[in-house]
């Protein structure tokens, strides 16, 4: 595929997403009732952590890791900020201001802005902390776990293998953790070591799970629609490829198998 075609497809994809976002928001606003979403254990645990933070007057630790505004991972940084905003609003009755850490200096203004918007009791400047990147970040956060004694750690951003040090330390301090990284190695560490993990695009749907506003839920629905379309496309292409390679398979048979697969997918999705 040449560059020009790729650019045209990119524009069409972005345009289709814009249309889907507005369509989903329109229907979400009209319907008025909460869309049924699949259950994600990490999101269900967060209200309990915020309650613990309020009752014990201990802060929540929210970590961006290396996620930065202005680079390739800007979307994950913005999604993390939205997620943290919802968490902080939930913990607003606590006297202990949440602790926001990041290792990318360009994320400091975003971290402070997130705190200022959601936390209405001041002391926001000193609670958004920049720490040097990489292992130094892991070392510094590990030290603060004993010092600040956070109720729980929510790590949403860009993390590599150094996440293992953070999660191991949190586990030894008896502090629960939820982790998600846009890096594959960080995601693997999170899956193995965090108490709760978000995978892939679940971070981007966080606001739809935690907030009551319908636009956030509509955006989560758009993600589901895109995912379903891609699954359908991949399955159809796979079956077409099989039908070319195996003489036993005929067009109608492929169509029937595809219909059964789609039906099974829908049933299992509704059951979850």
């Amino acid at each position: 595929m040449d560059d020009t075609t790729l650019q045209v497809y990119s524009l069409l994809f972005v345009f289709a997403t814009v249309v889907l976002v507005y369509t989903a928001r329109f229907f979400q606003a009209r319907r008025g009732r909460r869309r049924r979403q699949r259950q994600i254990a990490g999101f269900e645990r967060i209200p309990q952590w915020t309650t613990q933070s309020i009752e014990s007057n201990r802060p929540l630790h929210l970590a961006y890791g290396g996620a930065a505004v202005g680079g390739d991972n800007t979307p994950v940084t913005l999604a993390g900020a939205e997620f943290f905003h919802q968490v902080i609003e939930g913990a607003n009755a606590s006297d202990a201001s949440p602790l926001v850490t990041m290792s990318a200096p360009e994320t400091i203004p975003l971290g402070q802005d997130t705190l200022r918007r959601a936390w209405h009791k001041g002391d926001t400047l000193s609670r958004a902390r920049w720490l040097p990147p990489g292992l130094a970040y892991a070392g510094a956060v590990t030290a603060s776990m004993a010092d600040d004694e956070p109720t729980a750690h929510i790590m949403a951003g860009q993390f590599g293998p150094e996440l293992a040090l953070l999660l191991d330390s949190a586990s030894r301090h008896g502090q629960p953790s939820l982790a998600v990284s846009d890096r594959l190695d960080g995601g693997a560490v999170a899956y193995a070591m965090a108490d709760y993990v978000l995978i892939g695009e679940e971070l981007y749907a966080a606001a739809g799970y935690l907030a009551e506003d319908s636009p956030a839920r509509a955006d989560a629905a758009v993600l589901d629609v895109w995912r379903a379309l891609i699954l359908l496309g991949v399955t159809a292409l796979l079956l077409l490829e099989f039908s070319k390679q195996l003489a036993v398979l005929s067009g109608p048979l492929v169509a029937v198998v595809a219909a059964i697969l789609v039906l099974l997918g829908l049933v299992s999705y509704r059951r979850r």
């Binding site: 913005l78 400047l125 000193s126 920049w130 999660l167």
Partner: protein
């Protein structure tokens, strides 16, 4: 100017900058999009200009932000020192001494190499231990079929990486795992992340992101 109109203005600016950048990146420097008409090269070059300027601005802002980071670190630790957390004095003294050393020794970084590098190396060694412990804890945290599968795959890949002739069949399994299921899983994850990134990008592009909404204060 009220909160609502300020939020509207910032959303409008965000929208315009986003649209200009995306169009400039997609249409600029690509004369083929405009066919063989005369002047298509010049038009493509001009369309690329706004995107280039805005991206250069981002680079400058990012470069300046490292100063903000250092200022933030110092501010936080001065505050902690004021609250009698004397461990912060170590950081402030180290910061001052390193600057002094660098300036008086004409850019000598031996202090950094003598302290920072060994500390990071020992943390890397600790990281290995943490990862090994984490692998062992998987079965406790996820005592289900997926946890078992995770550990089994990790073991096969680890054994397959050993340089022993006796483990050649395991290496074949390990290679297949890495090239087929692991690769497919990784692509699926990246696809999900990319989808999420597009939706988050569209939110920012449309000025719907929280940063552009009214600030309640």
């Amino acid at each position: 100017m009220g909160l609502g109109s300020r939020a509207g203005l910032s959303a409008f600016v965000a929208f315009m900058v986003g649209v200009v950048t995306i169009l400039s990146l997609l249409l600029g420097d690509n004369p083929a999009l405009f066919g063989d008409q005369p002047g298509s090269d010049e038009l493509a070059r001009r369309l690329a200009l706004p995107g280039d300027v805005l991206l250069r601005l981002v680079v400058i802002v990012v470069a300046v932000s490292i100063v903000i980071g250092i200022a933030n670190l110092l501010f936080v630790h001065i505050g902690r020192l004021a609250r009698r957390k004397f461990i912060s004095a170590v950081l402030l003294a180290s910061f001052g001494f390193t600057i002094y050393w660098y300036v008086t020794r004409q850019g000598d970084t031996s202090l950094l190499e003598a302290v920072q590098v060994p500390i990071e190396s020992s943390l890397a060694a600790l990281l290995f231990l943490s990862l090994a412990l984490g692998g062992a804890r998987v079965m406790r945290k996820r005592a289900d079929i997926w946890g078992m599968l995770f550990v089994a795959v990790a073991l096969v890949v680890l054994l397959g990486s050993l340089p022993l002739a006796e483990l050649a069949p395991v290496k074949a399994w390990s290679d297949w795992l890495m090239s087929a299921p692991v690769s497919a899983g990784a692509r699926a994850l990246l696809l999900g992340i990319a989808l999420g990134a597009v939706v988050a990008g569209v939110r920012a592009l449309l000025g719907q992101d929280r940063a552009y909404r009214a600030y309640r204060g």
